[in-house]
Amino acid sequence: MRGARVGVVMVTIALVGSGRIAEEHALAYADVADADVVGVASTDDPGGFAERLGLDAAAFEDETAMLDALDPAVVDVCPPVDRRAASVERAVERGCDVFCEGPLARTLADAERVRDGVADAGVTFAVGNALRFAAPYVRARELVEAGEVGTPGVARATRVGPRPAGTRSGGDDDDAAAADGVLFERCVHDFDYLRWVLGDVARVHARRAAWGTGGEGGERVAATLRFVGGAVGHVEGSWERSSSRPLDASFEVAGDDGLVEYDGATAAFGRYAADGGDASTGTPTGASPRRRELDAFLGCVADGGTPRATADDGVAAVRVALAAAESVECGGPVRVAEVEA
């Protein structure tokens, strides 16, 4: 049931992208009373996307054309990673408030250019990381902030499981540009989360294995971090073909006075069909993390607040991912502050 908040103007949103993440965003906005997705720009069948999701949105193959035609208040940027910086810049130049899915970019130069452009334009800008709105992750950070584990000493974050549909391969035989798949599609979210909890990362050492090609490829990365504050972290991410093992997203933070652990492999809710069809398990926590995140962003748009993940955070997460990628190549630890790419 939709109804605008009293005194709040309907926010027009233009979506850039038509993939899995764009779909999640579109569906989340559908539940937000004062948000209206009015346009979708994508080089991959934007019209089909809008129709499939029942969006009353105009479809464009060209972003600039969309921005010209619709003059939206907000632009939601979620194309493939290497196209995000350009999309953000186009939107910010026009004074649109922007939500950009994380990671911000594949290169430091792009990420920093975005940050600088956002600062100059003075718009509301948020980088997406649903973990910052996922109940267990949020609650754990509250516990750490409250001193429940004391001073953190060693943390671990895991994100391993089947390849999502439509991901570009990270296998050996494929395009090197896609070779950072797991780092930029999985690990980077945990880098951002752990930064949010433990502060900046000083250095990274990472190892990577990749095999197979295309949809049959697998990739795993393990990054060993040392935080500026002194704690050590282990972040692991993978894309595997073992689709019978569901995504396992877990983490823990151990400190000098305690330990908080989250086992993402356990589910509080389950639904199983008598005919042996697909089971569905998970742990609903109220509004979905994606919905909370976009709601929070729109709240900042309305009241001028600072989003939970800013452009600076976006740049920092990209730095850590790039440091890890560089470490994979050179074999040694890489100082995050010295990343230049």
Partner: protein
């Protein structure tokens, strides 16, 4: 005729458990424990002394007397004393099972293995995880080809900080890295047949205010290029529900196989008494019992135990490489610390 087994030193936290298991083993006569006190404080004499189950006085015997009375001994001293006891057992012609790590210096580890080989005594190192039903299942899965070609190994062996001599650099040789590297490294070597080629270590003392490291995160590579990470930190708080964990995951081209010891537990909540609170109690075949039974069988059959002292030498090299890496701030090749001696 029973195999007569004794215990050299009771400093190790496992000593009391081993004595208990030895007393329960068929065909084994526990003949006593000895501790010359030269190792230092921390002897668990009170927990293992007293009358033996078979009428033999299981109170402390002088070392020479124990070696006279035993066919085999289990060395449960601090790490620094392993060498003394192993050499004494070898010289006395007594079979010896030594707690891990065998040594903290790879040259010393190799020397101990050689001393036992030269003396012709059965010699092993305590690697109970080779008797864990979970680890055995993982080995079977790997050998069946379930994971295909190995591509990544991920392990943890996190525990409570043991205190006592374990945190005395002189007596332990190091902290969490010394204590919690070899169990998982041994499993990986045993299951895959590969050696650790390189170690990058992040270690630090951050959790307990002790003079040795309690954080130990190792990023290694096997000799076939497979990455292998291991968190062996003493990061479980004193109030955690069990002593610690062992987890191991093998990821390959055809699948993944993994186990987690903390999932094979009952949740026991006590409302009173000394151990009030929630505890996780393990079930299944006891790896310690399996370890001792195998050692006893090995001595009787004059064959190698499942983990020989010679097997354990490369694992000591991994510990050394880890510390070297932590000191230098860069990855260290294991070959650099063995210097070809191995």
């Amino acid at each position: 005729m029973s195999l007569r087994v004794g215990v050299c030193s009771t400093e190790h936290v496992h000593a009391a458990t081993y004595v208990e298991r030895l007393r329960d083993l068929d065909g084994v006569e526990f003949v006593g424990a000895t501790d010359d006190g030269a190792g230092g404080e921390g002897s668990n004499a009170a927990s293992v002394g007293g009358e033996g189950a078979t009428g033999v006085d299981a109170a402390f015997r002088a070392p020479e007397a124990l070696f006279e009375a035993a066919d085999a001994v289990v060395v449960c001293s601090d790490n620094a004393s392993h060498g003394r006891w192993v050499r004494a057992a070898a010289a006395a012609g007594v079979a010896v099972l030594c707690e891990k790590p065998l040594a903290t210096d790879v040259g010393e580890a190799a020397a101990l293995a050689a001393a036992c080989e030269d003396a012709g005594v059965v010699a092993g190192v305590c690697m109970p995880m080779r008797f864990s039903p979970l680890a055995l299942e993982l080995k079977a899965a790997y050998e069946s080809g379930d994971v295909g070609d190995l591509r990544f190994v991920t392990g943890t062996n996190r525990g409570r900080m043991p205190g006592g001599w374990f945190v005395d650099p002189e007596r332990a040789g190091g902290g969490a890295t010394t204590d919690h590297t070899v169990h998982v490294v041994d499993l990986v070597r045993w299951i895959t047949g590969r050696e650790v080629a390189e170690v990058y270590a992040e270690v630090d003392s951050r959790l307990h205010g002790i003079p040795v490291e309690d954080v130990s995160v190792l990023s290694m590579v096997l000799d076939d290029g497979t990455p292998f990470t291991l968190d062996g930190s003493w990061s479980r708080p004193d109030e955690w529900d069990t002593w610690g964990d062992v987890t191991l995951e093998l990821l390959g081209t055809d699948g993944v196989a993994r186990f987690d010891t903390t999932d094979a537990t009952l949740k026991l909540t006590r409302d009173g008494g000394d151990d009030a609170g929630v505890a996780s109690v393990a079930y299944g075949d006891d790896p310690d019992a399996g370890l001792l039974r195998d050692f006893v069988n090995a001595v009787e059959a004059e064959r190698d135990p499942r983990t020989t002292m010679r097997d354990a030498v490369p694992e000591v090299a991994v510990i050394e490489a880890a510390y070297a890496s932590a000191e230098r701030g860069e990855p260290v090749a294991v070959a650099d610390v063995t210097g070809g001696d191995e």
